[in-house]
Symmetry: C2
Subunit: 241 residues, 2 copies
Amino acid sequence: MLTIKRLAEYVGVTVRAVRHYHQTGLLPEPERDASGYRRYPAQAVVDLIRIRTLTAAGVPLTRVHELMRADPAEFAAAIDEINQGLAKQIEELRQRQSGVAALQAGDRMFLPAEITDYLDRLRELGVSERGVRFERDGWIVLAASYPDQVPRWIAQKQEQLADPDFRQFYVTYDQAHDWDPADPRLHDLADVMAARLRQEAAQTVHEVLSADEKSLLGQHVRDFSPAWIRLDELVRQRTTS
Amino acid sequence: MLTIKRLAEYVGVTVRAVRHYHQTGLLPEPERDASGYRRYPAQAVVDLIRIRTLTAAGVPLTRVHELMRADPAEFAAAIDEINQGLAKQIEELRQRQSGVAALQAGDRMFLPAEITDYLDRLRELGVSERGVRFERDGWIVLAASYPDQVPRWIAQKQEQLADPDFRQFYVTYDQAHDWDPADPRLHDLADVMAARLRQEAAQTVHEVLSADEKSLLGQHVRDFSPAWIRLDELVRQRTTS
DNA sequence: TCGAAGGCTGACGCACCGTCAAGGTCAAGC
DNA sequence: GCTTGACCTTGACGGTGCGTCAGCCTTCGA
């Protein structure tokens, strides 16, 4: 007969695990010898291998407990189910592999494809990395708040970018970030912006955003660029008058 | 800005998990609004996706914590390592799949191939299922106790089975289990057995087994068959005289 | 005969949250 | 103005599957 260590080593589990299985009633306690040591018959090896095989497959001990007493038909069905579960896990692990690999690729994989496409388009147009990041952050918040609207809004934005005037305006606005707040070009830019705002107010993102949210989206703008702050004032003068 | 629930749902984790990450310092606590609610900027989404991607790959939170502040080279190396780990896990899962599938095939896959081959040979020779089970249990105990000797012993056994006289003897012994203890054939069988024992004592399994272990291996024999008990007596008379 | 190795029974610890409990807050509808 | 229901807060306990002492006893090999 076998000592607990021999049993455990042969099957490939720890002694602690075997005792744990006894404690929870999963593996029956064997007879003890004169000194109180556990002495295992061959059947314990078979039982323990079943347990280890199932737990290694991720089956919780309570479920293993049920399965040990299930009739063969139930058992076979359960085995089938477990194997399907394993197949699913393998699939998940594969996806996690690509997910982890994508971590090196920066933001590309984190965001919905429409958004990353849009951001790429901006980069192509010569928008600064800073500007792209502002857009990215804005769209992340929007996507989290109104996931099903974002594709439509993005489509609208892409349409706008088809207009050369708008592209010109967008790039200039991006560059204005670093201008001197006294730069006279800000007045021209403010004219264009005010006109555009009047034109588009009804049909874009603004339709669902509360004033509060709009101000929050624009907050980092005001945090960093004196020129943009000035521009904001100039536009405000033109739209409220 | 985002509430905790929007953030959690967008990234695909639970609110509880996000708070847990705050508690452990893994994700920085964001600003609170007037009522004490957490308000998340876009960066939190990016951070949280990194965390989730790594933890989903099985990286412990403490390690994620380190990685969040690692420089790109370290990070890339870690990613590589993690991906290798995932590949290994996938391999393991595959093996577990076949392991689980084998549970339906009875004992075949539990035991070393030499042993199952040997047991199959016995079945071919007409040894009863009960006899095969006795052998199986004996070999399980032996394999667990002296794993590296078993192949040699099995080889010896297989050699013995090449001898037609031995095969005849073995099958007869197996059948004797159900004989009447007064059956006269037991005397003939005891003669053959005693002769064999004298011949083989030095070269087989007996060389390493303590008397204690031998008796334990034979115990179930004496538990169930009056004929075998009688046979044991008869053999003992012949070998001790 | 002695020391190393192995056995026994508790009992605490751990990672990663799930799940109350016991509230406070916000948006919408009456 | 008030209610209702969804959402937020902190705090604490629970659960799985053992790992890891601690403190003591038994067995084995030299």
